[in-house]
Chain length 212, copies 2
C-alpha cells in the first residue's frame, strides 16, 4: 500500500470505479447500472474499466469484496466494542445499526443485500462474494453472543451463529421495508424489535408476572 510505484493520478481508476460502483449499484441496482454510466460517475473511460475488470460481473465480484473491506473497517472502528459486558456489546451493535439509519436510502442500505437478490440465479461468483460478505460480517458477532450465552447461563435451542445470522436477516428485511415505504422509520422500528428480542433471550424477567 505504501509507496505506490505510480503517481496517484495514474493508479486511481480502479479505486474510483469501485467507489462509484458502491454508490451507483445501491441507487439503481446492478443490472440497471451500465458500464458506461459507471465510468462517467468514476470519471474514467471504458478503456480503464476493462483494463481493471475483465467483465461487468468481475466488477460485481470486486465491488462485493470492496464492500466487505469498507464495512469491515467501519464496524471495527465502532464504539460498542469497548463495552465490557458481551451482551452490551451485542446490544451496542444493534443500537449502532439503528443509529446509522440516517440520510438518503442509498447511504445506509446494504450493497450486497441488493446485489445478491438480483444475481443469485445468474452469477454464482457474485452470489458467493455477497454471501461471504454477509456471513463473515455476521460471524464477527458470534464470539460476543457465545460469551453472553455463557455469562448469562442461557441454555438455548438456538446457536450463537443462528442468532448472528438472524440479526442480518432483520437488517436486510428492514432495508427492504425502508425502500418500499421511502423512509427509515419502519427499519428503525424493526431494529427495535430485534433489540427487544435479544433482551428477552438473555434476560428473562426474574419475577413471575403477577395477576393484574
Amino acid at each position: 500500500m505504501a509507496n505506490p510505484p505510480y503517481p496517484a493520478a495514474r493508479r486511481d481508476a480502479r479505486q474510483k470505479l469501485l467507489t462509484a460502483a458502491l454508490a451507483l449499484i445501491r441507487e439503481r441496482g446492478y443490472a440497471a447500472s451500465s458500464v458506461d454510466e459507471l465510468c462517467a460517475r468514476a470519471g474514467v473511460t471504458k478503456g480503464a474499466f476493462f483494463h481493471h475488470f475483465k467483465s461487468k460481473d468481475a466488477l460485481g465480484v470486486a465491488a462485493a469484496q470492496h464492500w466487505s473491506e469498507v464495512t469491515g473497517e467501519f464496524f471495527a472502528a465502532a464504539p460498542y466494542h469497548a463495552l465490557q459486558d458481551p451482551l452490551q456489546r451485542l446490544l451496542g451493535y444493534v443500537d449502532f445499526r439503528k443509529a446509522i439509519l440516517r440520510g438518503e436510502l442509498p447511504e445506509f442500505t446494504c450493497l450486497v443485500g441488493t446485489l445478491v437478490q438480483e444475481i443469485y440465479g445468474t452469477s454464482p461468483e457474485i452470489r458467493e462474494a455477497c454471501a461471504d460478505s454477509i456471513v463473515s460480517h455476521a460471524a464477527r458477532l458470534v464470539p460476543d453472543i457465545a460469551e453472553a450465552m455463557a455469562l448469562y447461563r442461557v441454555q438455548a435451542e438456538w446457536t450463537a451463529e443462528s442468532l448472528a445470522l438472524h440479526t442480518q436477516a432483520v437488517l436486510q428485511g428492514a432495508f427492504i421495508l425502508a425502500k418500499a415505504t421511502g423512509g427509515a422509520a419502519v427499519a428503525a422500528a424493526s431494529v427495535d424489535h430485534l433489540r427487544r428480542y435479544i433482551e428477552l433471550l438473555f434476560a428473562p424477567p426474574p419475577v413471575p408476572a403477577k395477576e393484574n
Copy 2:
C-alpha cells in the same frame, strides 16, 4: 370477472404475461427480465404485450398488484385462520410461512421484495405498488395481534402494526439470506427466531430462572 366477453384463448395474453412475469422476475430480477423473453415465456408476441401494457414499467406495476391478489387468496385459504386463540393464529401464520419454504428459491421468494429493491429509486409507481402489497399483507395480521395483546394483557411499547411489519422484515431478510447461501435453511432458522420472539412477547416465563 364472470362471463368474459371473449373466448379464453383470445383473452389469455394478459394473464399469461402476468403469470410469466411473476416467475421470471423472481428468477432474474426486473431489469434483467426483458420484454422479449417475457413474451417468449408467456407464449405471446410483443404486439400482445404492448397492447395490454403501455410500457415495461406498467407491467411492473400490474405484476406487483397481481402478486398481491394471488398471495392474498393463497393466505386467505391457509388453515391457521381456523384457530380460536388469536396468538395461535399469529403463530400459525409464522409456522405456515416456514412450512412453505420449499422447492427452488424462486418458488418461495417474494416478488415485491425483490422488485422494490431494484426500482425504488427509479420507478415511484412500481415502488408504491410494492409497498402497498407488503403493507396490506402485514395489515392482515394486525387484528389477530391486537386481539392477542388484549387477551394476554400485553402492555407494550410496541404496536400491533409495528410487530406485523416486523414479521415481514424478518421474512424479507430471510429470503435474502436464502438467496445468498443458496438454500432455505438459514431462512427457516430466522423464522424460528421470529416465532420465539412472538412467544416471548406474549408469554413471559411465569417462574424466575432458577440458579444453575
